[in-house]
């Protein structure tokens, strides 16, 4: 079920020497993940999770691992400036931490925010559990190479009971370089009991770069913690493979808004585990591939405790020859009685050559569960188009108005109003004219 290990992608990624940290458990974990990646290769479309995202073209490309000049790559801070976001900030360029672009002065007591490279210097043992993971599934090929190769990323910890008001901003920039690069980031985020955090995560690009970036994030919410998480992905021509794992303990509550605009080949795996009684997840997302972009969202939600709630609503808009993929799988495990699960994916096709593949799935093994799921793929409402045109609005603008209304519906419940309006505007600008 794997591509030949001799593909240019594998060869190029394995050509780089394994980073050595002198921490025996970490070096061993890297070695094992690298071996697993070398042996398993890339998943092909017979692997269910990759059915609609063929990696054949990517496998034929070569990337240089790491960027030795990342510290001096020109990145204009205006690139990541956001209204309504003016808190601590960590910036990575081609996977390398950039202190000059970050804002880490005067962090509030109880907030740990630092690059992984520094956290490993200070207290590697605290990261041992998450960084010792092994990825058993062939579908996890990119998580394997990430575990083997990532030398930096984010470590963020919020102390118990701490309520952070200013959003923390995490920025990952793929910057133009003479060669196409492969870079990796590993993020570890933990919210202590009863704490609250607003997180804004950005994936951006400069120029025409077509790097391969992988990101693996583990986010843990302890009892009663609250996370508001906004993600803006506008990574120009990059290949970006992100994997987020979100674990919620009792009464924890996570709200996520994801806006995917850029990238050549984009894959977002979001695994949500509702581990504690009364934990809740609300996810909203929009993906808007155009040109020949390919954006794939894989959402897995597991209800594993009593009275847990999940409400996921993703929307896709594909134009030109672009392709969107959405797979949402909700599982209500035995014993997760009283759970409430809602999963919706609505899609718009703006051109006859665009394609969106959607697959919502629901598996229920518990009692007294309320669950609903549904997916639609359609075109703009002709009646609404005519109504707008009959008032003098031309066809192009009428289409843009309806499409942008369709997309911004997912931002409706976003609390940060300036950020919400900014994201809505970005989506509007992103629409085909």
């Amino acid at each position: 079920m794997s591509s030949p290990a001799s593909s240019p992608l594998l060869t190029s990624l394995l050509a780089a020497p394994l980073p050595q940290r002198g921490i025996s458990w970490l070096d061993a974990a890297r070695q094992e993940n690298r071996e697993a990646f070398a042996a398993g290769g890339l998943p092909d479309t017979r692997v269910e999770a990759w059915k609609y995202t063929p990696l054949r073209a990517l496998a034929q490309r070569s990337f240089i691992s790491g960027d030795s000049d990342a510290a001096t790559r020109a990145v204009d801070p205006a690139l990541f400036a956001l209204p309504g976001v003016d808190g601590p900030r960590l910036v990575f360029v081609n996977g390398v931490f950039r202190a000059d672009l970050s804002a880490l002065a005067a962090l509030p007591a109880g907030l740990v925010l630092q690059p992984l490279s520094r956290a490993l210097d200070e207290d590697a043992e605290a990261l041992r559990f998450v960084l010792s993971r092994h990825y058993r599934d062939i579908g996890d090929a990119f998580a394997r190479i990430n575990a083997a190769s990532a030398v930096d990323g984010v470590v963020l910890r919020v102390a118990a009971g701490m309520q952070l008001t200013a959003p923390v901003q995490l920025v990952f920039v793929g910057a133009t370089a003479p060669a196409e690069l492969a870079w990796h980031a590993r993020n570890v985020i933990e919210l202590g009991e009863g704490s609250a955090l607003a997180l804004v995560e950005q994936h951006l690009g400069t120029g025409e770069q077509a790097h391969l970036g992988t990101l693996v994030s583990d986010i843990e919410l302890r009892e009663g913690a609250q996370l508001t998480h906004a993600v803006l992905q506008n990574a120009t021509g990059a290949n970006l493979i992100r994997r987020n794992s979100l674990r919620l303990h009792a009464r924890a509550h996570a709200t996520m808004h994801t806006v995917e605009l850029g990238g050549a080949l984009v894959r977002h795996d979001l695994q949500v585990e509702l581990l504690g009684d009364g934990s809740r997840f609300a996810g909203r997302g929009v993906f808007m591939p155009h040109g020949r972009q390919h954006i794939d969202t894989q959402l897995g939600i597991r209800h594993q405790a009593l009275n847990t709630t999940s409400d996921a609503h993703w929307r896709g808009v594909a134009s030109d020859r672009a392709r969107g993929v959405f797979r949402g799988a909700v599982l209500v495990a035995p014993g997760a009685d009283g759970s409430d699960a809602n999963l919706t994916n609505k899609n718009l096709l703006l051109s006859p050559s665009a394609e969106i593949d959607t697959k919502p799935e629901l598996e229920i093994y518990a009692d007294e569960v309320q669950a609903a799921h549904g997916a639609t793929v359609g075109q703009l409402d002709e009646r609404a188009l005519f109504y707008l045109r009959s008032r003098g609005i031309d066809l192009v603008e009428a289409r843009a108005l309806l499409t942008s209304a369709f997309c911004r519906a997912v931002l409706g419940d976003m609390v940060n109003a300036p950020l919400r309006e900014h994201l809505a505007e970005l989506m509007m600008l992103h629409l085909p004219t």
Partner: protein, 254 residues
């Protein structure tokens, strides 16, 4: 202003309009009445340029311009307005934004400058007051969650804002209680000017008690079979459509 000659139109391959002749001059109010299925709404839709209505013969000129050659938005800019029988709900599109975009799009096509937001809001508030619509309508999505009466009043409000030369009212009276009907009629009457013409498509004579037409036409089986003044509407009210077409039309029909 509007000259319809021998207009034939098909919908989904079926001929609905079978030779309409009608001339509407500035300042006139024409009522088009007729039984269900006569082609009344088809006429309104053909005039405003809706997709799916195929004109197979005839001409329509508006101020000397071939109206049928224009896109719906160009017709609107030229001064044609259709008040919909079933106004469309558009979730997510804010009313203020919609109205301002529409007004400025029309102004742009006519070579006028955009209204800035202050000018626009002043104008909108004025017109809202006339239609007795609440200000909060501006913050809601287009027609979303509106009652039937609110939707129809919203159509007349839009008409008041866009100030068309020719307003086509497609069964604007249907589904209205008497109070809403009076409000709609008041709105229409306030917009009657020597420069503006109305084409009121209606099934019942009720609206015509409040908006008194200059001409009444009976449309049946795709043709105007009788034309007259307002007394024709009263006759229809009394005798129904059954007797229509038995005597030859006296007015504008083919």
């Amino acid at each position: 202003m509007l000259k319809i000659e021998n207009l034939h139109a098909r919908v989904a391959g079926k001929e609905i309009l079978k030779g309409i002749n009608l001339t509407v001059n500035a300042g006139e109010v024409h009522a088009i009445m007729g039984p269900n299925g006569a082609g009344k709404s088809t006429l309104g839709n053909v005039l405003s340029g809706r997709d799916g209505y195929e004109v197979t013969a005839g001409t329509v000129t508006f101020n000397g311009v071939d109206l049928l050659a224009l896109s719906p938005e160009a017709r609107a800019a030229a001064g044609v307005f259709l008040a919909f029988q079933y106004p469309v709900e558009i979730p997510g599109v804010n009313n203020t934004y919609f109205l301002r975009t529409a007004l400025n799009a029309q102004r742009k096509q006519r070579g006028d400058k955009d209204l800035d937001s202050m000018q626009f809001l002043k104008l909108v508030r004025e017109k809202l007051k006339v239609m007795k619509l609440p200000d909060d309508l501006l913050h809601r999505a287009v027609n979303e969650g509106f009652s039937g009466g609110e939707k129809k009043r919203n159509e007349i409000f839009q008409m008041a804002l866009l100030e068309p030369q020719l307003a086509i009212l497609d069964e604007t009276d249907s589904g209205l209680d008497i109070d809403a009907l009076k409000q709609v009629a008041t709105g229409v009457n306030m917009l009657r000017t020597p420069e503006r013409a109305f084409l009121m498509i209606t099934h019942y004579q009720r609206l015509l008690d409040y908006v008194v037409p200059d001409f009444v036409h009976v449309l049946a089986a795709g043709r105007i079979v009788e034309s007259g003044d307002k007394s024709l509407a009263l006759r229809l009210e009394e005798h129904g459509y059954a007797g229509i077409g038995e005597h030859q039309p006296s007015g504008a029909s083919a």
